[in-house]
């Protein structure tokens, strides 16, 4: 089937605006991750869901960032009152299982949403 789908591919927001980024994982995938990739940097972990439960949100940089996955499939990353430092590519990844760690089930990444805050 289709891979991980993210929308929009590009988003330009004025400073102070709220944005919502969507991730459609591969059907049946239990685990879902959000990563933030600043220009010229490697991806950095934001948050992790197992089905609808958000098990780790330690990477969210501030309380302006909020993620949800209410039905255990589609996930939305919301950023309130965007700042210029929020400009980055936001990557979503999913994996089939949650037990045994990443060694048992590889991550499948989407193509990302490039957010530019002006």
């Amino acid at each position: 089937g289709a891979g991980v789908s993210q929308s929009p591919r590009y988003k330009v927001a004025k400073r102070g605006q709220d944005v919502a980024l969507r991730c459609d994982p591969i059907s049946g995938h239990v685990s879902l991750f959000w990563y933030q990739q600043a220009l010229g940097q490697g991806p950095e972990f934001l948050t992790y869901f197992q089905n609808e439960a958000q098990l780790d949100k330690s990477g969210l940089p501030s309380d302006r960032f909020f993620a949800e996955r209410p039905e255990g499939s589609v996930s939305t990353l919301k950023i309130q009152r965007t700042q210029q430092e929020d400009s980055a590519v936001y990557l979503c990844a999913s994996s089939l299982v949650s037990t045994g760690g990443i060694g048992n089930s590889p991550l499948h990444f989407g193509n990302g949403t490039r957010l530019t805050v002006t």
């Binding site: 685990s31 990844a93 990443i102």
Partner: protein, 113 residues
Amino acid sequence: AQSVTQLDSQVPVFEEAPVELRCNYSSSVSVYLFWYVQYPNQGLQLLLKYLSGSTLVKGINGFEAEFNKSQTSFHLRKPSVHISDTAEYFCAVAPTGFQKLVFGTGTRLLVSP
């Protein structure tokens, strides 16, 4: 906590030449090791991974990597590169039994004719 160091931000190489991309990691617990490739405007694609067993792992597109525990390294190699290998390469680690990946800052491989 884990960290990954990719000392080379950019590696230029001629087509059909061999290449090595360096990766060193730090961790107080045992980890799994990964190499991902990222083509422009695309997500990350898994090249190869080390979980356990043989320290030499082979991946897609002719790449291989060798895990060296004493030197805490996981260098990526290819004996003969193609123009199409031009991309950003990321080394990553994850504690065994967990799913959170920690990435290095990446190495841009530039293959020229």
